[in-house]
Symmetry: C2
Subunit: 327 residues, 2 copies
């Protein structure tokens, strides 16, 4: 897009955002700001494509805006970082200007709640599906950065919150059964899918306790445990009986299916992290005010290349090298 159309859309979008209190805002060639002295810069990006990551008949523009920022905030949460400045790029069809304005309103809502400032972006035309890219830049203390590659044998694997809700919400939409979608239990599952809550406070609390190893659950608990195992070169056992399944997912889909959704469905945006066994009470206590924390497994040894074994009733029911075995 270029010319008056682009300037008008940029002005319309800018009016939906809070002005940045410092630095240069929307309108210059780039945004600029002073980082906190001594802090690390932490940056991530995620691209969402219509028809692949969302459907406009299932997701409102406001929810799309919320989610496109939320998935990036979840990456920062998994690093123990704080938001943040965001750069928003959107490729839209000529008729989607109003839709993109509404998307910005939803994005701005979550930005306000999390202290994120939108400082720039790009709006361009496309002939194809709507594409939203968010690049998010936050900060972390150098000695408190959470990583994937430092899980240690003997540590416990701990999960925040409850899982399976987002995948169950998506399953309801895929079924398209209005009777089930209209049940009261369904509303929570749809909300979990459409407006995930990034665990920023939990991530910062985990980092503040000098724990070192965390990842966010964007892709199913089994898959994320696999990423930890590969990056850290360890073998992990995941006790699938102990997964904190979302009660509405269990109510509508049954326990076995809810567990499957949690393991491989993904998009819960909870945090999976490791805790030395002797510090468990301290950690769950410290997180207690913020979020439930559940032990779901254990790092059982070093294992170059990584390995995850799923345990049920204490016995291995599935295992393999992450990334090669489909859980």
């Amino acid at each position: 897009m270029s010319g008056p159309d682009e300037f008008e859309l940029i002005a319309a979008l800018a009016s939906r955002l809070d002005p940045a209190e410092d630095g240069l805002g929307i309108g210059d060639d780039a945004a600029a700001w002073s980082p906190t002295p001594g802090a690390l810069v932490v940056a991530t990006t995620d691209m969402l494509v219509e028809g692949v990551h969302f459907r406009l008949d299932w997701t409102s523009p406001r929810d799309l805006g919320w989610k496109s920022l939320a998935v990036n905030l979840s990456d920062l949460a998994a690093m123990g970082a704080t938001p943040g400045r965001a750069l928003i790029s959107v490729a839209l069809l000529p008729g989607q200007t109003r839709l993109v304005e509404e998307m910005y309103e939803g994005l701005s809502e979550l930005a306000r709640l999390t202290g994120t400032r939108v400082v720039g972006g790009d709006t361009v035309r496309t002939s194809g599906p709507l594409v939203v890219n968010v690049a998010l830049i936050g900060e972390a203390a150098p000695d408190r950065l959470l990583r994937r590659d430092c899980a240690m044998p003997g540590e416990l694997l701990v999960l925040t919150g409850e899982v399976g809700a987002s995948a169950a919400g998506l399953a309801l939409l895929l079924e398209g059964d209005r009777d089930r979608i209209d049940q009261p239990e369904a509303a929570l599952l749809l909300a979990a899918h459409r407006r995930p809550t990034p665990r920023l406070a939990a991530g910062q609390a985990i980092a503040a306790m000098s724990l070192r190893c965390a990842i966010d659950v964007s892709d199913g608990v089994a898959s994320e445990a696999g990423h930890l195992a590969v990056a850290s070169g360890v073998a992990i056992t995941l006790d699938i009986d102990r997964l904190p399944l979302h009660p509405s997912a269990v109510a509508l889909f049954g326990e076995a299916e809810a567990r499957r959704l949690a393991l491989s469905g993904g998009e819960d945006y909870e945090l999976l992290f490791t805790v030395p066994e002797g510090r468990l009470a301290e950690v769950t206590g410290a997180l207690g005010g913020e979020v439930r924390a559940t032990v779901v497994g254990r790092v059982v040894g070093l294992r170059p290349g990584g390995r995850v074994d799923l345990l049920a009733e204490g016995r291995v029911v599935e295992s393999g090298q992450p990334g090669y075995v489909a859980f």
Copy 2:
């Protein structure tokens, strides 16, 4: 994209990049690094869409990779900033894996030349046109940031390099006349369109001389003069006889058409900046080793809302409020 496909593509792409010497690289939830103490963080993003910003029958994947980074580097150049870390997002069709790998090679080539490190990104599936988004994060000294909003009456308007080449290259491609495209003069124009050179050294030199006001020419000299005029609230005269037209553009299209291409065609990625009249010799001297600098106009007064008058042979030939009049 997710699963083994995504992991394999990420590994293939990572192998085409230089490893970051510090901080966390590709593979964690986010990239992290220590900024230079006291420096500002400077961030920009640009999205390129197939069929809108490029055509794969006119642009090789390597050139596309180069250009997608170059347009962002040009934004940093216009701020007087240094690169930089880049986050690359790509939405691709299933059959485009090899194409995207080649695109990364071209991007990596320019990254190496400019000291840019690719520290993260996202690769996703699409059903539509190829989309490339680059978010680029650099640094600048707080007292040396170049901006659009500080042009002052009495200052001269100065342009680096030569203009009209990129738009002339695009015009050759649009014509599709093989005889003209095969002329030796055409090669330089096509190269200017496909592999623009961001003026990073010139931008840093301008900032080092404590000049304050600059913009990059991504959208035609007249349009960019308009952005300066609007942001600074000034009236600018642009002396179109004095534009440093690229000689190959003049040779193939004639002077009048070359001038039109330079004014409204855009994508030259030169810098347009302002210089107090008494400092002109100093500035052109200091830039001399790097790039030609040509006076192309003057800031003639304060003007809320901005105004640009185009002068030819000393007379106004076109004028208006930028953003509303099509030059």
